[in-house]
């Protein structure tokens, strides 16, 4: 009963926060602070219009395709490579410095370079996603394997576990939560990558909607496009985080 009350209170506060935010937006748009800043209501109307006339769904078809391809590539190759780094000293020594640099570097800066090599097609967009998402995915997989509690490995050996069993029954379950978190953070980076790519390299999809409507001064449409991609990213990442907590609850996590 008390728990339900607590949840209700939390939801109420969250709702108030949203109402306040969008209310302020509405006021600021009506003031107006700038001609290029439409009120919230006009933005929502524009969003509905763009959804109805199909321009928004069409844009997402373009945007989500390279994002999905890039994430699948990172998911397979990135996790695989990270696990390899965790298991093999040679691979670790060879590639750890590279990934530490890649993770720290502002990778968005090299996105324009991709155009010189891969032009402006799908490949370039996929690559933009991969370049941003891969480092955190690789590093998390590597850390998950590398930081396996040495005592558990010794236990496995004491009970005659083979190297294979050590990997599949100890290291991978131990790394699971970190690998999943890596994928989630990687997807967040992937969203950034795809939007930058569409703004800077290839004017297609949601990036094109933003640029186009801005250039013809359809500000409600432009803000609707921005609002939609922000909302999509936020909701997806939030859902993944909840899923993560469900699959790997705190009480069964390796420490």
């Amino acid at each position: 009963m008390q728990r339900n009350n607590l949840i209700a209170t939390r939801v109420a506060w969250q709702l108030i926060s949203f109402v306040l935010f969008f209310g302020l937006w509405e006021l600021a748009g009506r003031w107006p602070i700038s001609l290029a800043f439409p009120p919230f209501s006009k933005t929502v109307v524009a969003l509905a219009r763009m959804t109805a006339n199909g321009s928004l769904p069409r844009a997402y078809l373009f945007t989500l395709q390279p994002l999905a391809i890039g994430m699948v590539l990172c998911g397979i190759a990135g996790i695989g490579f990270g696990i390899g780094m965790g298991l093999s000293r040679t691979i670790e020594w060879f590639s750890l410095p590279i990934f530490i640099i890649l993770q720290a570097a502002p990778m968005a800066a090299i996105i324009p370079l991709i155009t010189y090599i891969y032009g402006i097609g799908l490949t370039a967009k996929v690559l933009a996603v991969v370049v941003l998402a891969a480092p955190v995915i690789v590093m998390n997989s590597y850390k998950g394997i590398h930081n396996t509690n040495p005592s558990l490995i010794q236990m496995s050996r004491a009970f005659l576990g083979t190297r294979r069993q050590e990997i599949f029954k100890i290291m991978l379950p131990h790394a699971g939560a970190l690998i999943f978190a890596g994928l989630r953070l990687g997807l967040a980076m992937g969203f950034i990558g795809i939007v930058i790519a569409e703004l800077m390299i290839t004017p297609t999809g949601i990036g094109d909607l933003i640029t186009y409507h801005s250039s013809v001064a359809d500000y409600p449409e432009m803000f609707a496009a921005i609002l939609s991609i922000v909302a999509l990213a936020a909701l997806t990442l939030h859902a993944l985080e909840r899923l993560e907590r469900k699959i790997f609850p705190a009480e069964i996590r390796g420490t």
Binding site: S151, L152, Q154, R157, A158, F159, L160, G176, I252
Partner: protein, 254 residues
């Protein structure tokens, strides 16, 4: 000690990378069906010696023989109980206890049946579905003990198993361990830094000197345990003499 030793430690030395000499020329014979304690000050290499016997750490020189066979790795006749429990946090008690059998490829039904029996035997019946994080230190160590018993090894190696549980649990656990051993005829090698624990539990106490560890004395407190209460044992003359004798030696190292 007429029975032939089940574990022989012959001239074992261990120098770690970096030049730290943990053990030097340790010679030791451990009788079957008895509880032997490795006792010594912190850093005397007693855990290292236990792990060498387990086959988890290779000795720098010398050799270990178990039932006459030279040891070059872990074996099915030896089971280990870890100081930090080493339980899988993502597996429940049942799977943790059955894990040794799982690694040996025992079918699910068989290993769970054995695990359930062991869980009941260490007094954890009803906790089969709990996860390690939901258990107290003493309960976790019972899981570790049950896992070692489940693989039915003749030799159980215990690395300071009670060091992180409170005193009441510790005493209760010691009594249960003695009870268990009377029925099971296991050979137990037990590492501890507690003099009372060593004297209370052991048939044979191996005192190790500080680094590099060597055997400085072997004490065999002939305490009659059969049918006597723990308090009676703790007032036994042989028990008190053993405690005193160990202390006389250990205090030189303080």
């Amino acid at each position: 000690m007429t029975a032939e030793a089940i574990v022989e430690v012959k001239g074992v030395g261990k120098t770690y990378d970096g030049g730290v000499e943990a053990l030097n020329d340790v010679c030791l014979e451990l009788p079957p069906g008895k509880l032997s304690t490795l006792l010594g000050p912190s850093g005397c290499g007693k855990t290292t010696l236990l792990k060498i016997i387990a086959g988890l750490i290779p000795p720098s020189c010398g050799e270990i023989r178990v039932k006459g066979q030279k040891v070059d790795g872990p074996g099915p006749e030896r089971a280990f109980v870890f100081q930090d429990f080493a339980l899988l946090p993502w597996a429940n008690v049942l799977r943790n206890v059955a894990f040794g059998l799982e690694l040996r490829g025992a079918p699910m039904e068989q290993r769970e049946e054995i695990a359930r029996r062991q869980i009941a035997e260490v007094g954890l019946g009803g906790f089969e579905g709990s996860y390690p994080n939901q258990l107290s230190g003493g309960m976790k160590q019972r899981v570790g003990l049950a896992r070692a018993l489940a693989v039915n090894a003749e030799i159980v190696l215990m690395d300071e198993p009670f060091s992180s549980v409170d005193e009441q649990t510790r005493r209760k656990f010691q009594e249960e361990l003695l009870d268990l051993l009377v029925h099971k005829q296991k050979t137990v090698i037990f590492v501890t830094h507690s003099i009372e624990e060593a004297a209370y539990l052991s048939d044979q106490i191996v005192l190790l000197s500080p680094r590099p560890g060597t055997v400085s004395r072997i004490i065999r407190p002939e305490i009659k345990r059969g049918g006597r209460s723990p308090d009676e044992i703790r007032r036994d003359k042989n028990y008190l003499d053993a405690v005193d004798e160990i202390w006389q030696i250990l205090k030189q190292y303080v």
